[in-house]
C-alpha cells in the first residue's frame, strides 16, 4: 500500500485528465477536419477546407474584431476601475470592511442573474434606469437595438461582474508593498501620483501582467454574457468567435466549421498561456 499509494494517485489523475480534458479537446480539434451536419451522421474528411472557408468569410473577421474590442475594452475598464477601487479600499476609514465586502459581491453572482438584473434595470418602460433618465430629461438609450449600445451593454455587464477580481487581487498585492518605500519617497518629496507610478505600479506589475494576459484571453473566450445579453446581435454587432462557433455548430448544423472556429480561438489561448510561462517560469522545486 505504502509503495503504491502515490503512483496510484498519479495514475488516477492522468487517466481522468486524459478522459475528461485532453481527449475531448483533441476530438474537438479533429472535428474541424470533417464535414458533419449532426453528431450522429457519418463524418466526411475534408482536410483544411473548413479553415479555408472560415478564413475567407467576412463573418469570421468581424467576429474576431468584435472579440478584440469586447475583451480589450472590458479588461482595460476592469483594470482601471479595479485599481482605483483597491487604492481607495486600502485607505483606513470607518466601514471599510463593509465596503470591501460589498465590492466583492458582483463576483459571486451567476452571469445569468447579472444579465437578467441588467435587462430589468434598463427595461424600455419599467426599468429604473429608464425611468430615472426620463426624469432627468436625458434621451432614452436603446441598449440592445443599436450596434454601439449593444456593445456597450455587454461590456458594462462584464466589467461589473469581474471588476471585483481585479480589486481583490490588487488589494492583496498592495498589502505586500514595503511601507519603507513609500516613506523614503515621501521624504524625497514625491506626491501621491508619483508614488503610485514609481512604487505601487512597478511592484505590482507581475499581478497586472497575469490579469491582463490570462483574463484578457479568458474574456475573449467568454460565451455566456454576450449570448444571454444580445445573442450576438443586433445583426452580428456583438458576435464574437465563441458565439459564431456555437451558432455555426448548433443552429446552422455545421459542426466541422464550428469546431474550426473554436480551434482558432483555442490557438490564441494557447499562445497566451505559452507567454504566461515565458514571463513566469515555474520554479524548479515543483
Amino acid at each position: 500500500m505504502t509503495r503504491w499509494m502515490l503512483p496510484a494517485f498519479l495514475a488516477v489523475g492522468v487517466l481522468v485528465t486524459l478522459l475528461l480534458i485532453v481527449g475531448p479537446a483533441l476530438y474537438a480539434v479533429s472535428l474541424s477536419f470533417f464535414d458533419l451536419p449532426s453528431l450522429t451522421s457519418d463524418p466526411v474528411w475534408v482536410g483544411l477546407a473548413k479553415y479555408q472557408a472560415v478564413l475567407a468569410s467576412a463573418e469570421f473577421w468581424r467576429a474576431l474584431w468584435n472579440g478584440i474590442v469586447y475583451a480589450g475594452l472590458a479588461i482595460v475598464l476592469q483594470v482601471v476601475l479595479g485599481i482605483g477601487f483597491a487604492l481607495i479600499l486600502h485607505q483606513p476609514f470607518r466601514g471599510r470592511a463593509l465596503v470591501r465586502g460589498l465590492a466583492f459581491l458582483p463576483y459571486l453572482l451567476p452571469t445569468v442573474i447579472a444579465v437578467l438584473t441588467f435587462k430589468w434595470m434598463v427595461d424600455g418602460s419599467l426599468g429604473i434606469v429608464t425611468i430615472l433618465m426620463d426624469e432627468w430629461g436625458l434621451p432614452p438609450i436603446y441598449w440592445f437595438e443599436t450596434e454601439q449600445a449593444a456593445m456597450i451593454s455587454v461590456i458594462l455587464v462584464s466589467v461589473w461582474l469581474w471588476t471585483p477580481f481585479v480589486t481583490t487581487t490588487f488589494l492583496a498585492g498592495l498589502q505586500t508593498v514595503p511601507t519603507q518605500l513609500y516613506e523614503a519617497a515621501r521624504v524625497d518629496g514625491a506626491g501621491p501620483i508619483r508614488r503610485f507610478f514609481h512604487i505601487t505600479l512597478p511592484v505590482l506589475r507581475p499581478i497586472l501582467t497575469v490579469i491582463i494576459l490570462l483574463r484578457g484571453v479568458w474574456m475573449f473566450n467568454k460565451f455566456d454574457v454576450i449570448w444571454l445579453t444580445t445573442g450576438g446581435g443586433p445583426v452580428g454587432a456583438t458576435e464574437h468567435l465563441p458565439i459564431l462557433s456555437y451558432r455555426t455548430a448548433f443552429t446552422l448544423y455545421d459542426i466541422g466549421t464550428g469546431a474550426a472556429i473554436a480551434t482558432i480561438s483555442f490557438l490564441f489561448l494557447s499562445l497566451a498561456v505559452f507567454l504566461y510561462f515565458r514571463v513566469f517560469p515555474m520554479e524548479d522545486d515543483a
Binding site: 475528461l20 459571486l108 451567476p110 438584473t117 430589468w120 490570462l214 460565451f223 515543483a286
Partner: protein, 278 residues
C-alpha cells in the same frame, strides 16, 4: 500600514469615493432583491427607491407554479457532486505530484493551468458528443462530469501550491512513528490542509452553481434544467414576469452571499492565489 488621510477635504473625498464604490457594486443587487419583494402594482407602475410594503407573493408563485424547486434541487445535486469529486481527485493528484519523484511534474502542473483556461465551449461540444454515444446525454451526471473539467484543474493548481509549502518532515516523522503513508496522509496532511480544502470546495461550488454554458449544451429536457438555465429560458417567454425572475435570482444568489459572509477569508484567499477564471 498606510497612514490615515487626515485633511478634512480629503477625508470627505475618501468617504464619497467609498460610497460610490458601494453604490456601484451593490445597487443592482439591492434592486434585484427589492424588486422581488414589491407588490405588483408598485413593481410595474411606480418603482420608488425604497419599497412601501413588502410581499412574498412572487416567491409563492415561483415555488408553487413553476419548475423552480425542481431546478434548484438539480443545481444543488450537481454542485454537491461536483464539489465531492473535485475534492477527491484534486487532493489525490496534487499530493501525488508534490510527493512522488517523477519526471514531468512541471508539465502536469502547467497542463492543469492550461486545462483550467480551456473555453467551456471547446470541451462542451465533444463531451456532449461522447455522452450522446453512450446514452448519457441530457443527464445531471453528464453535467457533473463537464463541471469537473473546470473545477478539477483549479483544485489541483491550488492544492499543489498548498502541499508544496508543507514540509515533508511532518509525514516522515509520522511514518517513523509507525504510520503508513496513507495513515500519515489522512492523519497529518489532510487535517493541516483544511484551509486549502475549504477554498477549493468553495470555488468548485461557485463554478458549478453559476455555470450556464455547459448546462446549455448538455441539458435539453425541462426536468434536468439547473436554475441558471431555467431562469435564462424565462427571458424568451412571451410574458416576462419580472417579479418571479427577480425572486428566482435572489434565491440562487442567497446561498452564495451567506457563504461569503461566513467564509469571506477563503474567498479572498482563493481568488488571489490562483483563481484566474470564474
Amino acid at each position: 500600514m498606510t497612514p490615515a488621510i487626515r485633511r478634512p477635504a480629503a477625508r470627505v473625498g475618501l468617504y464619497f469615493a467609498a460610497f460610490a464604490i458601494a453604490l456601484y457594486s451593490a445597487f443592482p443587487i439591492y434592486w434585484m432583491v427589492s424588486s422581488s419583494l414589491r407588490p405588483t402594482q408598485e413593481l410595474l407602475l411606480n418603482p420608488s427607491l425604497i419599497p412601501s410594503e413588502l410581499t412574498l407573493q412572487y416567491y409563492y408563485s415561483l415555488l408553487a407554479q413553476t419548475d423552480y424547486p425542481r431546478q434548484f434541487l438539480n443545481s444543488l445535486i450537481v454542485a454537491v457532486a461536483t464539489v465531492a469529486l473535485t475534492m477527491v481527485l484534486s487532493v489525490m493528484i496534487a499530493y501525488g505530484v508534490t510527493r512522488q519523484r517523477i519526471r514531468g511534474k512541471k508539465a502536469i502542473i502547467a497542463g492543469m493551468l492550461y486545462a483550467y483556461m480551456f473555453p467551456p465551449l471547446l470541451l462542451a461540444i465533444p463531451l456532449y458528443a461522447m455522452f450522446t454515444k453512450v446514452g448519457l446525454n441530457d443527464t445531471l451526471f453528464s453535467l457533473v462530469i463537464s463541471h469537473l473539467t473546470m473545477t478539477m484543474p483549479l483544485g489541483v493548481w491550488f492544492l499543489w501550491g498548498f502541499f508544496k509549502a508543507m514540509p515533508f518532515e511532518l509525514e516522515e516523522a509520522a511514518m517513523v512513528d509507525g504510520c503508513t503513508r496513507l495513515g500519515a496522509f489522512l492523519r497529518v496532511v489532510l487535517p493541516l490542509s483544511v484551509p486549502g480544502l475549504v477554498t477549493v470546495a468553495i470555488f468548485a461550488f461557485l463554478l458549478s452553481w453559476t455555470d450556464y454554458t455547459f448546462a446549455l449544451v448538455m441539458i435539453g429536457s425541462d426536468v434536468n434544467k439547473t436554475v441558471p438555465l431555467g431562469l435564462a429560458s424565462m427571458i424568451g417567454a412571451f410574458d416576462l414576469r419580472w417579479g418571479d425572475v427577480m425572486a428566482g435570482s435572489t434565491l440562487i444568489a442567497l446561498p452564495l452571499f451567506i457563504a461569503f459572509i461566513l467564509l469571506s477569508r477563503y474567498f479572498v484567499q482563493g481568488l488571489t492565489a490562483g483563481a484566474v477564471k470564474g
